[in-house]
């Protein structure tokens, strides 16, 4: 019985909690991609780098706050810097929209052209981020690192397996819940949210019924900028901030959005967790888990790992392909906000 509990703790510690926080980060990223896709109707390849831009802004504001000696005690200062960073990122989004994307929107360019434009924007953002903050690893986490350490857990429960909960993981999950519920409340209950859903459903009809497209686009960038900043900051807090890694996030983010049904916010959230859980479950070495469960004679000799962790990409990609083959519109039907 104790072995069973220990085995479950192993799963909780190495799979469930990390996957939940990684999934939250992906879900927030995928929501941003989905919003752009539903309203502006193109695949935004620069979203990963927009996240890194947001995270960079958070780091800069954190440094400013720290230099004034402001901190949040056991919470990271980054949380205090987040609203400022969101504001800066939204401003940046609006500027890019005005000078870059608007032209193609009024010209009614095809989605592929807009996707290409987003690659140009991606180059520019990457340059800006690297010129301002440099390509190196940045740790900007301060405050209390663990909510529960593995050792504490062992002392409290008397089990031989420890459960460590990092505060960044809790913050990530907590912030995601707040943000996602706010977003759904906004989309379902408010007038503007409803007009956005109408716009994404059928642009012509929405325009006929007097919805102002400029306002819808404006609100979209507000939401996308905020989501990207939060997602980027949470990812940076949890792992560490390195501009290069954010380009690599584009694939799992798009996989999440498409798996869930691109353009569908519920789909984006679910897709994020699907991708995160499968990535971690497939690449985790289950040896420890089986040692607890099986009698000694049956103990596995290998790592009991389906794929090595190097193939994380392959997992999200395979799920993407499977979903595309079986259900091309995603788990939830795509393209309705």
């Amino acid at each position: 019985m104790v072995d069973l509990v220990n085995a479950l703790i192993v799963l909780l510690n190495y799979i469930f909690i990390p996957a939940l926080s990684y999934g939250s980060q992906l879900a927030l990223g995928a929501l941003g991609v989905s919003f752009i896709y539903a309203i502006l109707r193109f695949a935004n390849f620069s979203h990963g780098d927009l996240m890194s831009f947001g995270a960079m802004m958070t780091i800069l504001f954190t440094w400013v706050l720290q230099s004034y000696g402001i901190s949040l005690g056991f919470l990271p200062t980054a949380i205090l810097a987040l609203p400022l960073a969101i504001f800066a990122t939204i401003l940046f989004c609006l500027v890019t929209d005005k000078f870059v994307f608007r032209h193609y929107r009024t010209k009614k360019s095809t989605p592929v052209v807009l996707a290409m434009i987003s690659i140009g924007v991606m180059f520019v953002i990457q340059a800006i981020v690297r010129i301002i903050i440099g390509p190196d690893d940045r740790q900007f986490f301060d405050g209390q690192k663990f909510i529960m350490k593995a050792k504490q857990f062992k002392e409290i429960t008397g089990l031989s397996e420890g459960l460590a909960i990092k505060s960044t993981q809790v913050i990530t999950i907590f912030v995601t819940i707040i943000l996602v519920s706010l977003l759904f409340w906004f989309l379902q209950r408010t007038r503007t949210g409803k007009s956005m859903r109408a716009f994404s459903d059928n642009e012509d009809l929405a325009l006929l019924s007097g919805i102002n497209p400029d306002k819808v686009v404006f609100i979209t960038w507000l939401i996308v900028g905020a989501l990207a900043t939060v997602a980027g900051t949470l990812y940076g807090l949890d792992k560490s901030f390195k501009p290069f890694t954010y380009l690599g996030l584009v694939l799992p983010i798009f996989a999440s959005a498409i798996v869930g049904g691109i353009g569908n916010p519920i789909g984006a959230v679910v897709g994020g967790y699907v991708i995160a859980f499968s990535e971690i479950m497939v690449t985790y070495a289950y040896k420890k888990f089986f040692i607890y469960l099986l009698p000694q004679s049956l103990e596995p000799s290998g790592l009991v790992q389906l794929l090595s962790t190097d193939y994380k990409f392959a997992v999200s990609f395979s799920i993407l392909v499977i979903v595309l083959l079986i259900r091309p519109s995603g788990i939830f039907k795509g393209r309705t906000l």
């Binding site: 592929v112 996707a115 290409m116 140009g120 520019v124 340059a127 190097d310 990609f317």
Partner: protein, 457 residues
């Protein structure tokens, strides 16, 4: 002579004078190595132009196809590692055999249980059983192969054929992978292909990085055989030395002292050998470039090319005319990817080393896209020109931006933090330049430097 032709000739002349400028200003060796990379880039951008310019297919996995071409160069030219084949060859062959059986079984089951609701469960189960069986043979074989002299080989090696063959094999590799991806995604929305190619290119790179038995992974393969002579050998060959002394006879004649003149000759031979090797590469690459250009132009102005344009410009009406859009898209996707694969093999042939970790999406995917867009999508000469211009700018952007920053910050003190920071970030200004070039061209000259030739008949 009409206007577009004049533009073409003007652009080519400007480009040529840039190379002469680098040759006289910096060095001929540098100028030639930039030129060689320009030719390779031009082949890549032609491949993408075939996909994007002819048919409007958005492929973001150029990096992966390039790397496959590079893998072909390794597998064709490296001599086989006999010891590795002895210890793991049988296991590898059995696992390959099992893999083929599994794939055939999946296709068979897919057909048999077409209407069954258990179809996906049965197929999933087959795949899992297949993977477990393959692993039984695959893992030990990999272990055995990687343990064979890991510092030098630790992989199966290649066929030991001349590396030139890899240019064809690289194209075939890329075409094969493109066929599989295209089959899955081309029937779907156009942006899905973009995501799928992005994913597959990342996976190809990961496989090459971590499957040591195949490509030595991050340990890299170095010292691939060359299709052209080695500098060291050239420096000892009599005809080459006499050629160099003949070419530089006026320079050598000025030196009266025989010891001095021998020294100078020696130095000239060393310089000359490097230039000679690069010239050889240039000739080989130019032949490939012109050959592909000829074929691509021929295809573009054939009925097939016309059909492709019709599909690109209006899928619905082309479909109504009885054209099979998915099939044509698949065709053009495979052809374009094959061209990229050829370029990848050429790239590795030129450098003589295969380093999977050096394949970065920015450099091998997105930069090629800038080339195609800037050069002029739909125009093959434009794509070549784009390859030349953008690679040239990419290389020369670093020294130029360094120079500009130094001028602009000349007033600041040398220890000034802002100035130091800017100088540190010089390499990233080329990203800024590339992004801005792409955005500006898309905005103000969306058809590129040399626009597509539209023929009205």
């Amino acid at each position: 002579m009409n206007k577009t032709n004049r533009n073409e000739i003007l652009a080519i002349l400007i480009m040529a004078s840039m190379f002469l400028l680098v040759g006289f200003g910096q060095s001929w060796s540098l100028s030639l190595s930039i030129l060689n990379m320009c030719i390779i880039s031009a082949v890549m951008s032609m491949g993408i132009n075939i996909q994007w310019g002819y048919a409007g297919i958005f492929n973001v996995g150029i990096m992966g196809f390039t790397a496959l071409g590079g893998l072909a160069a390794v597998l064709v030219s490296y001599s086989p590692v006999g010891e590795a084949w002895r210890v793991g060859g049988i296991g590898m062959i059995i696992s390959l055999f099992l893999l083929i059986i599994t794939i055939v079984a999946v296709f068979f089951l897919n057909r048999v249980f077409r209407n069954s609701s258990y179809k996906y469960w049965i197929i999933g189960l087959t795949i899992i059983i297949g993977l477990i069986l393959i692993n039984l043979f695959f893992r030990p074989a990999v272990q055995a192969i990687e343990n064979v002299n890991p510092a030098v080989t630790g992989f199966l090696g290649g066929l030991g054929l001349p590396i030139i063959f890899s240019w064809i094999v690289g194209g075939l590799f890329a075409a094969g992978v493109a066929f599989v991806i295209g089959k899955i995604t081309l029937g779907l929305r156009s942006d899905y292909l973009a995501i799928a190619t992005l994913g597959i290119s990342e996976i190809i790179i990961t496989v090459l990085k971590h499957e040591d038995w195949l490509s030595r992974g991050v340990k890299n393969v170095i010292g691939l055989k060359r299709p052209v002579p080695y500098e060291i050998d050239l420096q000892k060959t009599d005809w080459f030395i006499s050629l160099i002394s003949y070419l530089n006879s006026s320079k050598l004649g000025k030196v009266s002292d025989s010891l001095e003149s021998e020294k100078l000759l020696n130095q000239l031979v060393i310089e000359g050998s490097s230039i000679f090797v690069k010239l050889n590469y240039m000739i080989l690459f130019t032949i490939v470039l012109l050959f592909i250009l000829y074929l691509a132009n021929k295809a573009q102005f054939s009925p097939w090319g016309r059909m492709m344009r019709a599909i690109r410009d209006n899928e619905t009406s082309a479909n109504a005319m009885g054209k099979n859009i998915v099939k044509r898209h698949l065709q053009v996707f495979v052809i374009g990817s094959a061209v990229v694969g050829i370029a990848g093999a050429m790239l590795i042939t030129q450098s003589g080393l295969f380093t999977p970790a050096s394949f970065l999406p920015l450099r091998y995917t997105f930069l090629i896209w800038v080339m195609v867009i800037v050069g002029g999508s739909g125009n093959n000469v434009g794509a070549i020109l784009g390859g030349f211009v953008i690679w040239f700018v990419w290389i020369e952007a670093a020294p130029v931006s360094q120079y500009l920053i130094e001028i602009l910050t000349a007033a600041l003190h040398d220890e000034n933090k802002f100035k130091l920071h800017l100088i540190d970030s010089v390499p990233y200004f080329r990203y800024l330049i590339m992004g801005s070039v792409l955005l500006l061209i898309m905005r103000y000259r969306p058809k590129g430097i040399l626009p597509e030739k539209v023929r009205h008949s």
